[in-house]
Symmetry: C5
Subunit: 316 residues, 5 copies
């Protein structure tokens, strides 16, 4: 199969390409129906795959064909404004003499790698000289490493939440825990299917590369597994922190309740005795000079008795 000329027409399309020897790397950013039509005309791709490049309901997968592989990856991208981790799709067609990447431009490391190869002759040589399989490894490796800062941000947030929980009664802690939890859940959902795809990738792209990539992909799989392990741990940690927050809140309710009981125990008896002596009826000791000390004595006896009783019952 001959690799088609893409010089002029590409200008109008979101299609850019790089070539070294007989190997071409075509980057489509972002793909629309016009681009997939262009691919349909120039490459022997299955219509369902071209549809899949545009669809929102894809899952990471490897589709094997006689002449090419169709790969779908989802990588996490952190949206700084909305403060959530979302997934960004990377579709790849890999053939003997071409690698076609389709994405929305949110995957910075991929954009940067393509730029480097465009500008820098040496970088192009380094990445493209080993066949399309090696470029794919370079892309995936960079995108997997790109997950680490997102992961570190989660660790930082967890530690911050932990401090908030114990040190202070900050207002937004519950919201922070909830958002962090949701973020971890959605991150996990992105990594989960990726593990299987990257894990089974190496033997399938072996035919598209000149060097043995087993060690390289093994290393990448280890990184993905490490990320997965970390997310698993963070999930357990954040669930634990949620429980801890609730336990502390319950404890605080208890503290406040006990304080209210103490206030009631001390102040109500005074009011009661004072009200009794405020009645407009004849009362004992009413006119005596010792009436006030007498009243305070009664009050003190009642308060003392109640405090002693509650203390013995371990309620305050």
């Amino acid at each position: 199969m001959a690799i088609p000329e893409v010089s002029k027409k590409e200008k109008q399309l979101n299609v850019e390409s790089l070539a070294l020897g007989d190997l071409t790397w075509v980057n489509i950013e972002p793909p629309t129906e016009r681009e997939t039509e262009y691919l349909a005309q120039n490459y022997p791709f299955h219509p369902l795959d071209l549809e899949g490049c545009l669809s929102r309901v894809q899952r990471p997968k490897i589709d094997l064909y006689k002449d090419y592989l169709f790969l779908v990856f989802h990588f996490p991208v952190f949206n700084k404004e909305a403060r959530v981790t979302t997934s960004s799709q990377l579709s790849v067609f890999i053939g003997e003499k071409y690698l076609i990447t389709l994405h929305k431009g949110e995957l910075k490391p991929l954009v940067k790698l393509f730029r480097e190869c465009q500008i820098d002759e040496e970088s192009r040589q380094e990445n493209l000289s080993q066949g399309p399989g090696y470029i794919l490894y370079r892309i995936i490796d960079r995108l997997v490493d790109y997950c680490l800062p997102i992961l570190n941000r989660i660790v930082d947030n967890i530690e911050e939440v932990e401090d908030d929980i114990f040190s202070d009664r900050k207002k937004g802690t519950v919201k922070e825990i909830s958002m962090l939890r949701r973020d971890i859940i959605s991150f996990r959902r992105i990594i989960w299917p990726m593990r299987a795809v990257i894990g089974s990738l190496e033997p399938r792209i072996r035919r598209f590369t000149k060097m043995d990539l087993a060690v390289y992909f093994g290393d990448t799989v280890d990184h993905v597994d490490k990320i997965w392990d970390a997310l698993d741990e963070y999930k357990e940690v954040i669930e634990g922190l949620n429980d801890t927050h609730d336990s502390l809140a319950t404890n605080r309710t208890n503290e406040v309740m006990r304080m209210l009981t103490v206030i009631a125990t001390i102040l109500l008896p005074i009011t009661v005795v004072a009200s009794l002596y405020g009645m407009n009826i004849p009362l004992p000791f009413q006119q005596s000079a010792y009436s006030l000390p007498f009243v305070f004595l009664i009050i003190a006896v009642i308060i003392g008795g109640m405090l002693y009783f509650f203390h013995r019952k371990r309620l305050i």
Copy 2:
């Protein structure tokens, strides 16, 4: 085996049929005992299968026979009035020259597809020319895609609930969470057994189709897996939101409790001192011109002391 004539008698039964070449698609909507009896007379189907078309306790499954396959699917259908997702059964008999679908008419995409093939010659050509296996693929693909709007509705509801939880103390949030949770649970239960059945369908219906459907069914399986992944995520999210709601409610209880403590701390001492000075006994400073300022001074000292004490204990 000859395909039986179904022209007249069908009129009285809930049976409609389409034919192209020697292939017939029989649609029974809804099936009753009369229709299964009719099938028993005209096709070599196992009595247990015919029973299964009417039964309510079926599970998605593939039964293999020498001449035909019997398939049971359950697809989710959203009941707008009751606001719950229920399952609707689709039973399929697939033979070399026929496809028989039995359902209650709730599966709109199937009803629509059958109508299209009835009315539109081109559509009939497109769907029926590749053998009964291809029609089956078309039906399943449409029904799986039909799950997506139901899924999107769940996402919308989750986001609404999330906003409700944090922004306002809306009354019905707990009920909303509970219904959403139940809906997700029941949706999951419908998708779960479907994955296995659709996943193992392609090699078994290979003999009933002219084209290679592996890629097509692979795509459908991906969609089902995507739905499953999404439901898994939503389940975790809604459980997290439930926890968040409870944590916020506990926090609010704490806030209100602290406020009550503050009120008690400020108002009770005033009442106490006022009651004491309301006693009908001789009291110090009683007739002095400075008695009122003196009372207010005592009150201010008590309140100040209590606020200081509680603040140091971090209770208010």
Copy 3:
């Protein structure tokens, strides 16, 4: 091996038997040590199996021997008085020319089937003519179907509980949830090991039957799986309802707390001001004709200020 004569001696034992051709169905209800001794004398059964028929610590299982199979099943039985689902053991010996069932008489469908075959010649012909494997299928199928009403009762109870939770503050809801949960747990524990046994039964009893029972047992396995799926769903639903109940209770606590705060906010200031004006000391405006309106004005200002403050803090 000759089938022993069981006519006279059986009269004294809890042993009844049916015969058709050279096939005998022996029903022992309930089994005691005397009956297992009788079996030991007449059949080549392993002593551990005979012990197992009487033991309470059996698990559903299939024991394979050269001449016979020993099967243990546990089926759920609903105890209406105690309102719990318990398991009832059915032990079966199946040989080439005999089927021996041992149970306590709680499994109504089995008792009924045996009666039918005793009384009705036609029924006996239908059930016994296909060999002991077919009778076994008939028994198991009926007993599995017998689970459905128990399952439906659980669904009804769940719906009732759901209504109770949201509509009213009924007293017994927590107890109802707890009992339902326990019932589902114990039902699940009965079904769980049954799945494996019934699923692997067909190939092992093939030698004891004249017809191919694969489809029949496949259907029964589907029913058991359906029951399992349903119980799994109910378990999740009831756990969700428990959470919902707690969330609603927490909400109600909040409502009541806020109401108490409102009461305190409105009534306490009145008491405070009134107490101050009840003091037996010279007070401003005391003898003025406008003293009462003045007092009410102070009260109104205090209440208004507090309500405004709390409302801004979103506490009431």
Copy 4:
């Protein structure tokens, strides 16, 4: 390999032995370094195994060697004083002509079995005549059956806790639930690894026995599985009971809160109105003969209005 003479020296060691024909059962109770040294001198055992007999960090396991097997079992033992289930280690060396058991004497059924064989000729004949594999089966079978009373005690405790939760506000219920839960957790941890070991034991000791023990060990494995199933169920039940306890406690808090609100609703308005009429300022109706009925009327109107308002809001 010759079986060593153990007559004299054993006296000083914690070693006892039984012999029948060329088979010896050596019982070491409790094992110390002196006993393992003795074994090291007389038997070809691996040093790690001898260490393992004394170590506290063993796990149930089967170690296969050319001449012998080394087995470690952990059986549950109920400590009546501390009211917890702990594990007690049984180490076994089994060779062609010997069985060596090492334990701390806490496993009563094993101690009893050894005593029986010492005293009673018949019992020794019964247990030792079938080779070391059969003695091992006898020991394990008795020790597994010994778990049942511990299990029954747990069931009794669960039922007691269940009654406590619903019938009364007993003080120690939470502690009881907590201890029961911990007991079940630790019991499960003992049974869990035991299942795998006993399940894979029979084929490995086949060479050390004269009779076919497959059925016997199969029966024992069933018992262990039954115990595991039961513990699984109890774990779910006790977790459910914990939730139920908390729900009931939350409900009770609600009840008490509502009662406080009712008290406040009824008593505070009286105090308020009374305080107002206690003010030392000119008040309307003050000197009228109908002032008291008038005051009560105002109070009744306020209380009635509040009760009606709260009732409509479904708060009381």
Copy 5:
């Protein structure tokens, strides 16, 4: 391959070495880029592995090469100051004639073993004479045993927390539970991947050792499994304790609430009646000598009635 001379240059690097016969053990503590460069020059190691020795995102793993193995282990290290368990990486290159260990010096048993072999001729003989595989076993065995004191510390902490929960209302219990839980989670995450690596290690290093290490590694795997089982149990126990703490806190809230209700029930009626008799209006019995007993009678009747009513409603 010849083992390189490492005498002089090592002095400046963090590299130490031991030799016995043609076997060299090189210990690098801590590794930096200079040390990995040194290894790259002298050994045929893959660049990715050398990178992995310095990286923080490694996972325990075994990488197989023709001439050597690259192993990564993570062992738990308890940080006494921060009171948390963290993981410390040990990277190992094992070849026919060398063993290279790279670590940060936090793994005390490894540091100690290397020192012993440096100083003590006998110890060097014992550890190095059996080939590099045996040294590796010695290192791993000591490091695994080093986990046990960390585990015991967790057990001690759990028991302390358990006592705190039941005996007293200590302030820091929630924090203690939270930290313990997090510690167990992170310990588990360290042990989890280690199990797989150590479990599959023996057959892979067989070629690097003179003696059969299967029994030895089997023993080590048992220890790791035992640690895992223990951590699993502790995780369940600490979750149970968290629930117990919350249940107890809820109970205490109930107790305090009931106490407040009792106080309100006893004191408020007195205040109410006293306020009524404090009104400046004509009251019945006002001037009677029996007015005070009459007032107390009314109060007693009201309090008695309320206590009786609440007691019947089981609220106090």
